[in-house]
Assembly symmetry: C2
Homo-oligomer: 152 residues x 2
Amino acid sequence: MSQDGSGVDLETSVGYLLKEASSALRLAMEEVLRPFGMTVTHYACLELLAQRPGSSNSELARGAFVTRQSMNVLLQALEQDGYVTRAKEAPVGKALPTRLTSRGRRSLEMASAAVRSVEMRMMAGLTETERSNVAGILRSMVRSLRQSDDTP
Amino acid sequence: MSQDGSGVDLETSVGYLLKEASSALRLAMEEVLRPFGMTVTHYACLELLAQRPGSSNSELARGAFVTRQSMNVLLQALEQDGYVTRAKEAPVGKALPTRLTSRGRRSLEMASAAVRSVEMRMMAGLTETERSNVAGILRSMVRSLRQSDDTP
DNA sequence: TGTTGTATGTCAGAAGACTGACATGAGCAG
DNA sequence: CTGCTCATGTCAGTCTTCTGACATACAACA
């Protein structure tokens, strides 16, 4: 409708659509997490800790797709507010294992239900075949994008 | 592998995979745009203006998935650097039509080629059927997510 | 006419994330 | 053992984006 060969047609560009989808997802998640006073990264951190207890700051940062500096700031706040506990000494290296407190677990439980409802809504408009393909497609794109990304 | 019913399994969660994919795309785009001294939002703004000349600040903001306040800051910088021109008076309402300068067009041309190469790489790992399905899937997810999002 | 609602541009302050930098600890080659 | 590399934690400063707020402009309507 708007392209003649050069340039990127935003209407059909998968990159643009991907950005749009992630933006919509982010908005929807922020909306359901707001009642809990929780940001998306905040929630991601707790969810990661629930599935991988004892993760280090750097591991959590990678899992939440932020820098370890950003995750560090968040972890300090979460510890101060009693959602997580961090080992005072590193059992090995410098990595300090982090774990959820019972308060963190309770908080996560509610948030997780809210987030699940968003994901359900997101998948609701897809056909059965689409639903079974989407994960593989996204994983393939990630793999391709990282091809010559971390090999400079 | 890690879930028993409650919680969100990050390994298979489409929401998480979507976030991961958009993060990878963002990183890859930042990498190819850095040589041009251009951020992703910066590029998105120019690309939007190329396809929809005369767009207003608010229209550009919606197209780039940021707030109009953020886009306003960017536009002021772009105008000062000579990439765009903004009408001094609104022909109708308050919206100030914005257009690319020749410098902006030249700058976009190079950036656009770089971004296209990233998108090509992203699609490279997909099968023919996946390639023809991905746009529809993303659009469906966006539509579902916005269902009761802007109807509070 | 004037009132109400919606959309826009813009300023100011706050929050979140990033880059840069430094020190520490582990692993490995020599 | 020593030097090198890599990963980690953390502090500091900066940047980008967001939220909040206000004024303006048009449209719809009583």
